[in-house]
């Protein structure tokens, strides 16, 4: 399937979904149309049906049944009672109720709902076949005639969209027509919102659902869909619709399932189990709570509980992949990618036409390195559901990434986009092997097989690789033996250090491998950040004023609940601050029991043990004690920094709190800023020195070092500039511009060693700066660091300089200095091939033909 074809198909579908409301419902809908069975029906039975639906929305099923008892044989009431019976798991009775409803004015609607129910009860093939015939008959005879029939057609075509994606557009046409006839039909509008969400159209889903909730803030179906939409878009809203849903019906199955999923994401499996059980109050056989329970027990290592729950779920999901889809999704969200593949495969086996199961299978196959298989499966998924933006994005990415170059080292396959490959490989190959040697020795664990590291020069592409959608804030991701990360061109130089990201992600590969991917996220991230810092002091970030302030103000979770800081952050910066904090936990733990203690903890996770148990067993610390011990350790270690920062909590108009910085550090920086404005350089220096002394590791823009640099630059004080720049570059591994400036100053000051080190750092952060590489090569030659000179000259050549003859010549000269005359001759010939009259190159070639004199 070509990319262009796919794009056309996707665009047609997406556009049709988005635009359907604009043109639907004219030619296909003959008159007369009259509303039936809706709000306009004022007969006794009609009023009862309305009341039944209202009571059902509140979870008052017994009351609803009682209200309908008198008219249960009346079709309009039977149609209202049937979903109430379904919600209680009384499926046979529901089927009978639909059958009764088939005798009334809502006959078509009842037939469609009955076929849906029969599909859910295991008669999928015949139900779909009958739905197809029914829809074809209706369309063949000139379309639906009543609002109820239009609604029925909308539901029917939505169901048929599973096999024929074009049917989703039909469904939209019917919903549009229905809402044109009866704009107050909030139930239908909520279904429309669901449909948009199912087809990955978040903006239209939100607009539609908000319209429903504006008219009726307690519409349960719209509230449930809004919860799912927020999860889909990663959005938090001030008034959580989940709580509104639970306030309406504390046993609402959808609500409890969604709440249980959130607890699963927080890796609180027992609580998730309990929460899902609360969703079984109305119907003890309801499949979705059982699926979530099965997932929770699986992740908790309770295989018996998992089996029982899954069997209960399967009883209500005959022939369906729904349970497996959920289990695959949950597994992937908990970093169990191989398990996700297995579950998705099981789902595909149960229902080969389930596009979601295929999508999860393909995506997770890519994550575990099965690229060819994953792509083939994704193509199948796309044919079944061309609206799945996740699948489409991933297939597009695979198309564009097909020409990437694979560089093989002893333990890695580095997959790098063609234009970056030569330059990246020069730096990435040795660094990857260095990380491998360091971390495998430290943890006593070697990954099975080679590790695949994919570099993306577009952050959007990386994001698609990681989560299927653009917009991910992370820099890298490790799925186990497969790593994906931003290459330097993905961001502005100085925004990040790709090397620290690679090291971080490879640390995940190690710890995920050691635990069989069974470890809390905070542990995994904490160890990776800790390993970054151990690798290079300027990597991983040290404490920041905001970390001190947030910790001091009690806005970060204690160690025993630090995972929530990652999966349920309560404010914007909580996740990133939790990364930094968690790394210190492992620094403290290693101080106590060395690397052996950490290895034991990781081994324990592999055995399915929990953090509390492991901390108790290995360190003798119960959760509260762990929190307390770390608190003391952290406050003592950074007593100076804590003293420098005073958190200032402000309350906004919306009641939300915000954290600002106060205290001596802030005071000193403000004084420095005022002095800078007035060009009082002595005062700038005095205040900036004070700021540096108060918080030496603070190097972000606006730090004391930056004020010192400004003052020194204004005073043409090279030594002062050098000192300030050294302060920044020794602590901030991303500081590329500062390293380049420092190198220049040190070269002028004839500090060749310092200049060399600064240029090495600058070229490491951004290997794509040809000028820096050339400067590095010159300094390296002068310092007789010939291997570095060769590497830098190769980088210059890989960056395609306009004067390639000169670049080859200089590389040849570097090889001569390194003692590699064969390589030197090869390169100088390349120079002369381009410029035969290039005299210095001619001289070098002639000298290389002369046998080298013995020393």
């Amino acid at each position: 399937m070509s990319r262009a074809w796919r794009a056309r198909r996707w665009w047609r579908g997406a556009r049709a979904l988005a635009g359907a409301l604009c043109f639907v419902g004219t030619a296909a809908l003959p008159t007369p149309l009259r509303a039936q069975g809706g709000a306009g029906d004022t007969t006794g039975a009609g009023a009862a049906a309305t009341q039944i639906r209202t009571l059902a929305d509140q979870g008052r099923h017994a009351d609803a049944m009682e209200r309908g008892a008198r008219w249960r044989a009346v079709p309009v009431v039977a149609l209202a009672l049937a979903p109430v019976l379904e919600a209680q798991g009384r499926l046979g009775e529901a089927d009978n109720a639909y059958a009764s409803a088939e005798r009334g004015a809502d006959s078509l609607r009842a037939r469609v709902e009955r076929l849906r129910l029969q599909r859910d009860r295991g008669a999928g093939d015949s139900a779909y076949a009958r739905l197809e015939r029914l829809v074809n008959t209706m369309e063949g005879r000139g379309s639906a005639r009543t609002a109820s029939e239009v609604h029925a057609m909308a539901i029917a075509t939505r169901l048929l969209g599973r096999s024929d994606p074009q049917r989703f557009k039909d469904a939209l046409r019917y919903y549009d027509a229905l809402l044109a006839l009866e704009p107050s039909r909030l139930d239908a509008k909520a279904e429309l919102g669901e449909l948009f969400l199912e087809k990955f159209n978040g903006p239209d889903a939100r607009t539609t659902l908000e319209q429903v909730l504006t008219a009726n803030p307690r519409q349960p179906r719209a509230l449930a869909a809004l919860v799912r939409l927020n999860a889909f878009e990663g959005r938090r809203t001030p008034r959580d619709p989940l709580q509104r849903l639970l306030a309406l019906d504390s046993a609402n199955t959808d609500a409890r399932v969604i709440a249980a999923r959130r607890l699963l994401d927080a890796e609180r499996y027992d609580e998730a189990t309990a929460e899902a059980r609360r969703g079984l109050v109305h119907d003890s056989t309801a499949p979705q709570p059982w699926v979530v329970i099965a997932a929770a027990r699986l992740l908790a290592g309770d295989s018996a509980g998992h089996r029982v729950a899954l069997e209960r779920a399967h009883r209500r999901l005959p022939g369906s992949a729904a349970a497996e889809v959920e289990l695959a999704d949950v597994s992937a969200r908990n970093r169990l990618y191989a398990e996700a593949v297995r579950w998705a495969q099981a789902g595909v086996t149960r229902d080969p036409r389930d596009a979601r199961a295929l999508a999860l299978l393909g995506i997770n196959q890519l994550r575990v390195g099965q690229v060819v298989e994953g792509r083939a499966v994704l193509e199948r998924a796309f044919r079944l559901d061309p609206y799945d933006v996740w699948v489409k994005n991933t297939l597009d990415l695979l198309d564009s990434y097909a020409s990437a170059t694979t560089v093989t080292t002893t333990h890695f396959q580095l997959v790098i986009e063609k234009e970056d490959a030569e330059v990246m490989a020069l730096q990435a190959a040795p660094l990857a092997e260095e990380a491998y040697a360091a971390l495998t020795a430290r943890y006593g664990f070697r990954p099975t097989g080679v590790v695949r590291a994919e570099f993306f020069r577009s952050h959007a592409d990386f994001s698609v690789r990681a989560v299927g959608l653009a917009g991910l804030g992370a820099l890298g991701v490790a799925f186990g033996n497969v790593i994906a990360l931003d290459a330097p061109p993905a961001r502005k130089p100085g925004e990040f250090h790709w090397g620290s990201v690679l090291w971080h992600e490879f640390a995940h590969t190690i710890t995920l491998g050691m635990t069989d991917n069974r470890m809390p996220r905070w542990v995994s991230e904490g160890l990776s950040v800790y390993e970054e810092r151990r690798a290079r002091p300027e990597w991983g970030g040290s404490v920041t004023p905001m970390l001190m302030a947030a910790y001091g103000a009690g806005r970060l979770r204690p160690v025993s609940r630090l995972n929530d800081g990652f999966v349920h952050p309560r404010f914007g910066e909580e996740t990133i601050l939790s990364y930094a904090l968690s790394a210190y936990v492992f620094e403290m733990l290693e101080e106590r029991k060395g690397i052996a203690g950490l290895r034991t903890v990781l081994g324990g996770y592999r055995e399915g043990r929990g953090t509390a148990e492991l901390m108790q067993r290995v360190y003798g610390l119960a959760p509260a004690a762990l929190d307390s011990v770390f608190d003391h350790w952290f406050r003592a270690k950074f007593a100076r920094e804590f003293a420098a920062v005073k958190p200032v909590v402000t309350v906004g108009a919306d009641g939300d709190t915000a954290l600002a910085l106060g205290g001596p550090l802030q005071g000193a920086l403000e004084q420095a800023a005022r002095a800078l404005k007035d060009r009082r350089w002595d005062d700038v220096e005095r205040s900036a020195q004070q700021a540096v002394a108060l918080f030496p590791s603070f190097t972000e823009q606006g730090s004391g070092y930056h004020y010192l640099l400004a003052a020194a630059t204004a005073r043409k004080n090279a030594a002062g500039s050098i000192a300030a720049l050294k302060g920044i570059t020794s602590r901030d591994g991303d500081a590329v511009d500062e390293n380049i400036a420092l190198a220049g100053l040190l070269e002028t000051a004839r500090d060749s060693a310092g200049a060399f080190a600064a240029l090495e750092r600058a070229a490491f952060v951004n290997p794509f700066d040809a000028k820096v590489q050339a400067r590095l090569a010159d300094v390296a030659m002068a310092r007789k660091a010939f291997a570095v000179a060769v590497r830098a000259r190769r980088a210059v050549l890989a960056l395609a300089p306009s004067d390639r003859a000169d670049a080859y010549y200089r590389l040849a000269a570097s090889y001569v200095a390194l003692g590699d005359r064969v390589a030197a001759r090869r390169e100088v010939l390349r120079a002369l091939d381009l410029a035969p009259n290039f005299e210095p190159a001619q001289d070098l070639l002639l000298s290389l033909r002369t046998p080298e004199k013995a020393p």
């Binding site: 234009e419 020069r457 577009s458 061109p489 993905a490 794509f768 700066d769 040809a770 960056l799 395609a800 306009s802 004067d803 390639r804 003859a805 000169d806 090869r826 010939l829 002369l832 091939d833 381009l834 410029a835 035969p836 009259n837 290039f838 005299e839 210095p840 190159a841 001619q842 001289d843 070639l845 002639l846 033909r849």
Partner: protein, 322 residues
């Protein structure tokens, strides 16, 4: 290093520039025009580049002062070196006079540093007062049918000048591929630097051809966008009716070596060198049919032969024996 390379270039050019001697025999005229800058930063840049070109014109290209004309937005700025204001009338007067007077051996090089725009679908060069269109330049240069004319528009929206000004004995270089590319261009800085320094001399023959300068600037612009992972907003173009062949042999710097060629020993060495160069060119022509290893194996002895001859010439130049 540079002095030695220049000296050597004098030697080499005897053989290498033979096809262009007829051109070199005539006079070369350089006209540099800067347009309305719009802001001091750009005015400063363009003035700097215009002055660099003018200085290279006399010092590096060996032109007489009368052969270099600089027309700028502000003619009072550097009165000693700026010859007039770059109004449409002045531009037409200067170019018109040259176009009418130049002969077949002469060459005219026009370098424009100016913003461009589109008006009613027609490209414009923004000059003080009325702008000039491609047709304006075409009309004013129309009498120049005999000399080779190089027209170089380094500014935005310059692409439409390519077709309008192309023709026999014409080399047209633009910074953009169409009038729709209207962002400030990066091309002129790199192009002027390539012409006025050694950075553009990629074949190391001691001189920079128009093709070399164009290729250097085009490459640097591309690199800037590629390495910054940005969408390019300019696409430099060259048209000379000969796939770059005319631009390849168009040098502003003069050929030299007449004095050395008068020395019989040097003349023999130069003939040897020319023969080797011809064999290298022949080998290159067959490269596609050879393995890379075989090509390199065949190339090395030829390069060595060439290097030995160069070394002998150098010795002769220094007063020694070949």
């Amino acid at each position: 290093m540079r002095a030695r390379r220049l000296a050597c270039a004098l030697l080499l050019s005897v053989a290498m520039v033979a096809p262009t001697r007829a051109q070199d025999g005539g006079a070369t005229h350089l006209v540099v025009i800067t347009g309305v800058s719009g802001e001091p930063r750009i005015a400063e840049q363009w003035h700097g580049m215009a002055m660099a070109l003018a200085a290279a014109g006399t010092a590096r290209f060996g032109l007489g002062a009368a052969q270099v004309t600089v027309l700028e937005e502000d003619s009072t700025r550097d009165a000693g070196r700026v010859n007039g204001r770059s109004s449409k009338a002045t531009v037409e007067r200067v170019l018109g006079a040259l176009a009418r007077s130049l002969t077949v051996a002469d060459r005219l090089v026009v370098v424009l540093m100016a913003h461009g725009s589109m008006l009613s679908g027609e490209a414009r060069v923004n000059l003080p007062g009325p702008d000039m269109s491609p047709d304006d330049f075409k009309r004013v240069l129309a009498p120049a049918t005999a000399p080779t004319v190089a027209f170089i528009h380094t500014g935005s929206a310059s692409g439409d000048f390519l077709a309008a000004l192309g023709g026999p004995r014409r080399i047209v270089i633009t910074a953009t591929k169409s009038g729709r590319e209207q962002n400030e261009t990066l091309f002129p800085g790199y192009f002027v630097r390539a012409l006025t320094t050694d950075v553009g001399d990629t074949d190391k023959d001691g001189r920079v051809s128009l093709l070399e300068a164009f290729t250097h600037a085009q490459h640097e612009v591309e690199q800037l966008f590629t390495q910054g992972n940005r969408l390019p907003t300019e696409h430099p173009q060259l048209a000379d009716g000969a796939d770059g062949g005319r631009a390849r042999s168009f040098y502003l710097a003069p050929a030299g070596g007449g004095a050395v060629a008068a020395n019989p020993a040097a003349a023999a060495l130069l003939r040897d060198r020319a023969a080797v160069q011809a064999r290298i060119d022949a080998l290159r022509a067959k490269r596609g049919d050879m393995s890379e290893a075989a090509y390199q194996q065949a190339l090395e002895p030829l390069i060595v032969e060439l290097a030995m001859a160069t070394r002998a010439l150098r010795a002769l130049d220094a007063g020694g024996k070949p």
